[in-house]
Amino acid sequence: MAWQWFHRLGSPKWFYEKTASWAKVLGGLALVMLSVGVVWGLGFTPAELKQGNSYRIIYIHVPAAAVAMAGYYVMALSGAIGLIWRMKLSFMVMKMAAPIGAALTFVALFTGAVWGKPTWGAYWVWDARITSMLILLFLYLGVIALQEAYQNQDSADKICAILALVGMVNVPIIYKSVDWWFTLHQPATLKLMEKSSIAPEMAYPLIFMILAVYVFFAWLLLARTRVEVLHREAKTQWVKDIVLGEK
């Protein structure tokens, strides 16, 4: 009995029906939170003492990077669940997480490069944090490319899950790179256990933006997976009913 929900969750039809209202709520919440967070960070926080106003890039750079890394765990663990319990829905989540993760990694790298110019005097430096983040981008792109390379969806899912799991070793390296190697990149600004090295009036909008990007990620993943369910179940009667019922 206790495991019934787990098996139900693996049922594409059940998932599609139950998540309809969730998708709407998360989508609306993401839009509101991102708008509030951006206005807050751009206009209602003080400038930083040394970096001036360029530091305002932090409100998109750090959230994008944090969720890009967390998203990799989501992708890899979904792949693992798919491999272990042969759950198709889990493979769909894995496949749908990859493009979102790649886009967020790109945003983190791009905003980091633009922030680097006024702060370090260079758009790009080959240091540990930035290089390991670039590897994260290639891992995401690798999963996307592998999905395209296989005609058979089952083979593609399994191979991608293995690649995603192997690549997981990179995530703690990114996280720890600023402590392990000498680097230009500043160390973590927000800390859970000790005092953060950032003033509260800058920390609150930053935490808010991190939450906003998490909600945005959750909505995107849900919305994408719902469409993927329709694609993979296209031949079933319940999907045909949905197609004919759409206005």
């Binding site: 989508g27 991102l34 951006v38 751009l42 206009g43 209602f44 926080t45 003080p46 400038a47 001036g52 106003n53 360029s54 305002r56 890039i57 998109i60 750079h61 994008a64 493009p99 979102i100 886009a103 790109f106 945003v107 791009f110 905003t111 633009v114 922030w115 110019k117 006024p118 945005f216 995107l220 919305a223 994408r224 719902r226 469409v227 329709l230 694609h231 296209a234 999907v239 045909k240 197609v243 004919l244 759409e246």
Partner: protein, 63 residues
């Protein structure tokens, strides 16, 4: 909470850092809009294709 900048011009210029800050936010906005639009477009395409397919099939079965 008050608006940090003294004028809209200051807000735009940001003591010379404006181009960096606004470029970052603009690119992020474009990427986020593309991300949000992707599943909506993909579903619309799917419904359109499947409906065409289903109507072809029902025509064939009538003949």
């Amino acid at each position: 909470m008050t608006f940090y900048f003294s004028s809209l011009h200051d807000f735009w210029w940001m003591d010379g850092h404006g181009p960096y800050v606004w470029a970052s936010y603009a690119v992020t906005l474009v990427v986020f809009i593309a991300l949000a639009a992707a599943p909506i477009r993909r579903k619309a395409m799917f419904v359109k294709q499947q409906r065409a397919l289903l109507s072809r099939q029902s025509l064939q079965s009538e003949v």
